[in-house]
């Protein structure tokens, strides 16, 4: 009996969280299938005209929703930016996966070096790495743009990948260095006795033991890249390179866009993220926690 109020409270707060997190997703799903004329009309029930997939059809095929092809309809409200959503999902995936791979490639060895070895300037460089994310992104936009422009990387995915990698790298190094630091010394002493080089120690001892944490930080880098907007916007030039964050901003900040179409674009854009989160979030949390408490 004493547990009953606490269970009720738990249920209440869980329901509240679900409402705030799941509610917008459900609303965007419903909004995507309900025509604008119903969404805008206070006098009509939400499902009075049933559900349709015309805006989905438009995004994937370019065929206008029937109501916007009718007499006296204004097709200008159907923004063709919405048609960039599928391509932008692919672009975002390429950029985020590349950023994740580069973060692991550079971040794991760097974190290992910071955690297990002494070298001149170690404290200073580590401090620089850890404090660098404190610089507001907006202050870096112009210098980064000019630098990438001189390298011919503006308007390319490579430019965005480089910047996203650089933005996530401090977090990767910080999280992994904590994990590597907490590994038992005996493991590395044994490796030395077995004549392992530093490289071999990293690859044969540290790396296999830290795979869950590496996976978690990699996913963290993936998510940072997937949702990043400012540099993606400045550095991507056209639909061929544009990530989904920029396309969504173009739609959401354009007030002339059909609401039904906007909801459709939102739903299509968040589905892959939702699937990813459902599949891997548990591993992310476990990996990060093991890095934090192990040893």
């Amino acid at each position: 009996m004493p547990g009953r109020p606490s269970r009720l409270l738990t249920f209440f707060f869980a329901a509240l969280i679900l409402l705030f997190t799941g509610g917008p997703v459900i609303l965007s799903l419903i909004g995507s299938m309900v025509p604008d004329r119903v969404l805008f009309d206070d006098g009509k029930g939400l499902f009075s005209e049933g559900l349709n997939f015309e805006t989905y059809r438009y995004i994937f095929t370019g065929q206008l929703p029937d109501s916007y092809s009718a007499e006296n309809a204004n097709p200008a409200m159907i923004s063709d930016a919405a048609r960039q959503v599928p391509r932008s999902l692919l672009n975002s995936s390429i950029v985020a996966l590349s950023s994740m791979a580069l973060n692991i490639l550079f971040g794991a060895p760097a974190a290992f070096a910071f955690a297990r070895y002494f070298f001149p300037g170690k404290g200073l460089t580590f401090m620089f790495l850890i404090l660098s994310p404190l610089v507001p992104s907006v202050a870096l936009v112009t210098p980064v743009y000019i630098m990438l422009q001189s390298l011919g990387l503006t308007g390319t995915q490579a430019g965005i990948i480089l910047v996203h990698t650089a933005k996530a790298l401090p977090f990767t190094i910080l999280i992994l260095s904590v994990f590597f630091r907490k590994m038992p010394n005996e493991l590395f002493e044994a490796a030395v006795l077995d004549h392992c080089s530093r490289f071999q120690t990293f690859f044969r001892i540290a790396l296999p033991l830290s795979l869950p944490s590496i996976g978690a930080t990699g996913l963290f880098a993936f998510m940072l890249s997937y949702s990043e907007y400012m540099f993606s916007m400045v550095l991507s030039g056209d639909a061929a390179t544009r990530p989904v964050s920029v396309v969504m901003a173009a739609l959401a900040r354009n007030t002339d866009v059909s609401w039904s179409l906007l909801n459709t674009a939102i739903f299509i854009a968040i589905v892959p993220t939702l699937v990813l989160v459902v599949l891997v979030w548990r591993f992310v949390v476990e990996g990060l926690l093991s890095g934090a408490v192990k040893g």
Partner: protein
């Protein structure tokens, strides 16, 4: 045998290359736009490329809210940029900074003058800086006084022609049970919050600045001062409902709970959009109330960069492109108008049958043409956007009675004068 074959292949390749001198002369223009209707832009570009072999156009687009910053970044980063969309509020600063070039510097003699005769006065002012024309209109619009025909007809109220008549009509509707007859876009963050005020003042015949760009609106006899007082009075009488954005005015007007609003004319197209608005067809524009019925117009334009103007081949190609997009016979401007409902600054299009047919579905084209002909441009300088950001919050307070009209206009005028002096001494 092999050597003979190799020589033959080489000769053939040389012959092919010589037969296509354009390959060596191809010019690629970098055309930067905000991302409205990219498919139409790309299709227009394709048509241009077909008509102009040897010129390729690469389109780069940015979101509207980030456009100005992105363009400035491109200028500062020396990113290759040839033709861009320009805005009336940015153009003076870009021209003063040397980022863009007068069209005369890239066009054949007399070509620009031949086109400007057809451009509405407000649109021409918006593309002109220090007497030089920097752009041709891509899209132009005016701010309109919009009313619900059915509500006025049902209440037996004639269309108001002065602001005093608007007050009388609103009071009558309020007495009849309509809580807020006027719905107003009230958002100090938006530049068009100030623009809508200027449009109303223009309706009264106001001049906000003199020819030396000194502010006049702090004078209680100035029509802008009077209009601000009118808005404050309307709020005080409870006649006005605020909405934070024009996109919210569209559903608000479609509830049938409001009779009047003041917004950009393209909102009328949305209000009368049968695809999504339950009261589509009930809305119309009337001349802006006041003695002159003038209003504010604006023009977005095709502008050639100074970079492009500095390279003869790119300059020539850039002019051809701008002329194709905005010049006679106005095919592209007409396409935007007919297919997308975009306004235009080329006055002959108001007489075009296809435009009249397309626009007649949501507005009285003749009335709109008459409005465009008497509309005036805003006052844009290198510092006007800085000043507008300062003045809009003051304006917002005065409208809802949190500050006096006298103090607001006085503070606004002082700040303008300060900025004018600062920029003059730079």
């Amino acid at each position: 045998m092999k050597i003979t074959a190799l020589l033959a292949a080489g000769a053939l390749t040389s012959a092919v290359l010589t037969a296509h001198p354009a390959w060596a002369e191809d010019v690629t223009l970098d055309f930067v736009v905000w991302n409205y209707s990219l498919e139409t832009i790309q299709d227009n570009v394709k048509k241009f490329e077909e008509a102009n072999p040897g010129i390729k156009v690469k389109v780069t687009d940015y979101t509207w809210p980030d456009y100005q910053d992105s363009i400035v970044l491109r200028f500062r980063g020396d990113t290759k940029t040839d033709v861009i969309y320009g805005g009336q509020d940015w153009l003076p600063a870009w021209a003063a900074a040397g980022f863009i070039a007068p069209l005369d510097s890239v066009a054949p003699a007399g070509a620009v003058e031949g086109l400007t005769k057809d451009i509405a006065g407000f649109a021409l002012t918006d593309v002109t800086y220090k007497d030089k024309v920097y752009g041709l209109p891509y899209y132009s619009d005016t701010i309109s006084f919009i009313y619900n025909k059915k509500i006025l007809a049902d209440a037996g109220i004639p269309v108001p022609a002065t602001w005093e008549e608007v007050t009388a009509a609103a009071e009558k509707l309020k007495a009849g049970g309509m809580e807020h007859p006027i719905v107003y876009e009230y958002n100090q963050e938006l530049p068009n919050f100030y623009d809508a005020f200027v449009a109303q003042a223009y309706g009264r015949g106001a001049e906000l600045f003199d020819k030396d760009l000194d502010p006049l609106f702090a004078d209680p006899n100035n029509e802008a001062y009077k209009q601000l007082q009118w808005i404050a009075d309307a709020y005080a009488k409870g006649l006005v409902q605020s909405e934070t954005h024009e996109s919210k005015i569209i559903p608000a007007m479609n509830t049938g709970k409001h009779a009047f609003t003041i917004v950009f004319t393209y909102v009328l197209a949305a209000l009368n959009n049968a695809a999504d608005q339950p009261r589509a067809g009930e809305f119309a524009l009337a001349p802006m109330p006041g003695a002159t019925h003038s209003t504010l117009g604006f023009a977005k334009s095709y502008v050639v960069t100074a970079q492009a103007a500095g390279d003869p081949a790119r300059a020539e190609a850039a002019w051809k492109f701008v002329n194709f997009m905005a010049g006679k016979p106005y095919t592209v401007a007409k396409r935007w108008a007919v297919e997308k409902g975009l306004g235009f600054g080329q006055l002959p299009l108001f007489e075009d049958k296809d435009v009249i047919d397309a626009w007649g579905k949501w507005t009285d084209v003749k009335a709109l043409g008459a409005q465009a002909a008497i509309a005036k441009a805003g006052t844009y300088t290198e510092y006007s956007s800085v000043w507008s950001a300062y003045f809009r919050p003051l304006l917002a307070k005065a409208m809802v009675g949190e500050a006096s009209v006298e103090q607001t206009t006085k503070d606004g005028a002082e700040r303008w004068s300060q900025l004018k002096e600062q920029f003059a001494n730079r």
